[in-house]
């Protein structure tokens, strides 16, 4: 259980996930039926992955943020549905390789702009946000195109007795556990916590930052593939809103927006939470506008609680040191 006791920052959001999961089950008995879980997992997966994609740049500190994750995911959707499939390159290897390559390029560009050229993250990634949107519209001016068959089927069907989307979430969990054991994670937390101290300890600060944006972009591309599978087609407008979702998830997930504190578990759980809130209100047939308002209210509440607990923690430390 150390994986959870060591990550107390994520307790509130994990608790909220349980509560909202239960509320969903109460609101609609069909949610409680295991047969429907895979469908929910398919819908949930992009939220979870995009939240993790945002968490890594935010953890890297010094105003780290990647606004371009949403448009990048959207660009992957357009690339697959409007370029690769029509050209006949729809086999899994080509689609995945091309998408991830796009992620590496986008992440390298953002990372170098931020860590080497030293453009402020919010501005640098706003630039790529706009550029990716434009490129998406260039490839796919309006909704259309088609997702490769294996992608949609792969998530929806059962493999070896396990639903596809579940397999994917398990795979993500395994990747997360591996990530938590790398030296990179420690370097990332050090850089995000205090980049000067990290530099003085001999950490390659610029390298850590660049890799943070590359990892974030890779995950954003995975999220793009996931909602392409869920959608079954291309749509130039679906990706962009994920940016705001991802930032909300990072904040809800207990990740400090000035870096160095928190982790991927909290962000992923918060992605789940946002999805559960959305389904709950959809089940209750609340208008989409009210859902937006609820998001806002929940975000404010969470950040206020975070700030309060932070202050208490700091006071305790100060008292102990006298």
């Amino acid at each position: 259980m150390t994986w959870i006791t060591n990550r107390s920052y994520a307790w509130p959001v994990l608790l909220a996930v349980l509560i909202f999961g239960a509320l969903n089950a109460v609101a609609s008995p069909s949610v409680a039926e295991p047969g429907n879980w895979n469908g929910m997992a398919v819908g949930m997966a992009p939220f979870v992955v995009i939240a993790m994609a945002q968490a890594i740049p935010v953890l890297s500190g010094d105003g780290g943020i990647d606004l371009s994750v949403g448009p990048l995911a959207g660009m992957v959707n357009a690339l697959v549905a409007a370029v690769l499939v029509p050209s006949g390159w729809s086999d899994p290897f080509t689609v995945v390789t091309a998408s991830l390559a796009l992620g590496v390029l986008a992440g390298l560009f953002n990372g170098i702009m931020i860590a080497v050229v030293r453009v402020q993250p919010i501005i640098a990634t706003l630039g790529t946000y706009l550029a990716f949107q434009g490129l998406t519209l260039e490839m796919l001016p309006m909704a259309g195109g088609q997702a490769p068959n294996w992608l949609a089927v792969g998530l929806a069907e059962t493999h070896w007795g396990v639903p596809g989307a579940f397999l994917l979430l398990v795979a993500l969990g395994v990747l997360w556990l591996l990530f938590e054991r790398t030296a990179y994670r420690r370097n990332l937390m050090a850089v995000g916590g205090d980049s000067r101290a990290a530099f003085a300890s001999g950490i390659n600060v610029a390298g850590v930052r660049i890799v943070a944006y590359v990892l974030g972009s890779l995950l954003a591309c995975v999220a793009g593939l996931l909602f392409t599978a869920a959608l079954g087609s291309g749509d130039p407008s679906v990706g962009t809103p994920y940016t705001l979702t991802s930032i909300a998830a990072v904040a809800l997930g207990g990740v400090a927006l000035n870096g160095g504190r928190g982790g991927l578990l909290g962000a992923a759980a918060a992605g789940m939470l946002l999805f559960l809130i959305q389904t709950l209100f959809t089940l209750a047939q609340v208008s989409i506008f009210y859902i937006q308002i609820m998001y806002g209210v929940i975000l404010f509440l969470a950040l206020t609680l975070n700030a309060a607990s932070d202050r208490i923690r700091r006071r305790r430390v100060a008292e102990r040191l006298g």
Binding site: T182, A183, Y184, R186, N187, M189, A190, G193, A197, A198, S201, G202, I203, N204, G207, V208, V211, V317, R320, L321, G322
Partner: protein
């Protein structure tokens, strides 16, 4: 992050760990036990350690890689005697192995204890490098205080006789920066210049910030006239004006002109119905600039185009424009050229003659000696001496800064 993470920081590659977790823990324990921390739980959060513990963790970090030169910059400031002696023992062992150590410290006893050779730096210049076998800490203190150097002293040295009888402009009662320190009771009178001295980071800056209302929470009370100072708003209402230390980040407002920078705190003067009147404002700026002898090409020129000395005059002018009763100045003469310094000395003396009380923090001993009526010296977040500056010299001040005050109680007469 945990103690272990903190100690091994920087040893890994970007992604791969250089050591297996078991080996890593082993290395961390070895490094920590060198510093007498073999019992420390290495998965504990480093932030939960005491200051001394954190300092030892950061020393352990520097020992983790193969090194030939170790630079310790005030690394013993938080350690107690026992830890320090253990560290010194370790350093001697390293020295005997043929490795070099550069040890920066402001503690004389440490220098005597550990160093083979000592270099004294003053005002950014290397003053002397001595073999420790042939020098005493007395010599080092002399070198640091430059008593033998005989520099020019640009101050008149004439002090006004500030009235000690009337009502004080500022009363400090029962003030202490940390628990266990003696309480300070102090009155600052109209027209008095009170020097505030101490080595970097010994609490004197915090004292100024409390007086200026920028901090709250220590024991003690600060009053100016009838007002109790609890916030910067109280301080401003009571006529306390504060000049922060860092001119670039806390002082000048770089995008604005010299004129704007002078008048920004006193826009209400000469304004009518909430609107600033350009002519009155220009007149005010002109008057202040004449008083502080600012040399500006034109009032509209950007403040960044001025020299450091002129910027400092503008900032002092900004305070004067608010017609303060008490000026709280954090090292106003730092990084100012000689000519501007003399101008500023004259401005300060003029203000004092007009009845303004001035708290002057300075890192220049000569200024404390020559410019001030009294000097408060801080050591280790407590007041180590309050001295009448009549008759004190730089050596006495240095001793107080290093906490050696015992023979100097005679000078202390002003503690009410």
């Amino acid at each position: 992050m945990s103690v272990r993470d903190n100690v091994v920081l920087g040893l890994d590659g970007l992604v791969r760990r250089r050591a297996t977790p078991a080996h890593e823990r082993e290395m961390v324990r070895t490094a920590l036990s060198l510093l007498g921390m073999e019992d420390l739980e290495i998965e504990r959060l480093a932030g939960s350690l005491s200051l001394a513990g954190r300092q030892k963790v950061s020393i352990a970090r520097s020992l983790m890689r193969p090194w030939r030169l170790l630079i310790l910059d005030e690394s013993t400031s938080a350690l107690d005697i026992e830890d320090r002696d253990r560290l010194f023992e370790l350093l001697r062992k390293f020295r005997d192995e043929g490795r070099s150590i550069l040890f920066v410290s402001h503690r004389m006893d440490e220098i005597e204890n550990i160093a083979d050779r000592t270099t004294v730096l003053r005002s950014g210049l290397s003053v002397a490098t001595l073999d420790c076998a042939s020098c005493s800490s007395e010599m080092l203190l002399d070198l640091m205080s430059a008593r033998k150097a005989g520099r020019a002293e640009p101050v008149s040295g004439k002090r006004n006789s500030c009235g000690r009888d009337g009502r004080p402009a500022l009363e400090v009662r029962g003030f202490s920066l940390r628990t266990g320190a003696d309480h300070l009771d102090l009155d600052v009178h109209p027209g008095e210049i009170l020097g505030v001295g101490g080595l970097e980071g010994h609490g004197q800056e915090a004292f100024l910030e409390y007086v200026a209302g920028c901090r709250s929470g220590p024991s003690g009370r600060i009053r100016a006239g009838d007002a109790v100072i609890r916030s910067e708003r109280d301080a401003a209402r009571a006529g306390i004006a504060f000049l922060p230390r860092d001119r670039k980040t806390e002082g000048i407002i770089a995008p604005l002109s010299g004129l704007d920078n002078v008048t920004i705190s006193a826009l209400r003067r000469g304004a009518r119905w909430g609107l600033v009147r350009a002519r009155q404002r220009a007149g005010l700026a002109d008057e202040i600039c004449r008083q502080t002898k600012v040399k500006m090409a034109s009032p509209g020129a950007s403040i960044s185009s001025l020299s450091g000395g002129n910027q400092q005059k503008v900032l002092l002018g900004r305070l004067i424009a608010t017609r303060p009763r008490v000026l709280v100045l954090n090292d106003p003469l730092r990084g100012v050229d000689q000519g501007a310094k003399i101008d500023l000395y004259n401005v300060l003396e003029g203000l004092a003659n007009d009845g303004v009380s001035i708290l002057l923090l300075s890192t220049e001993l000569m200024e404390l000696c020559r410019l001030c009526h009294r000097v408060v010296v801080f050591h280790d977040h407590a007041v180590s001496a309050v001295m009448e500056s009549e008759g004190i010299n730089e050596r006495v001040l240095i001793d107080a800064m290093f906490g050696r005050t015992s023979p100097l109680r005679a000078f202390e007469g002003a503690v009410e």
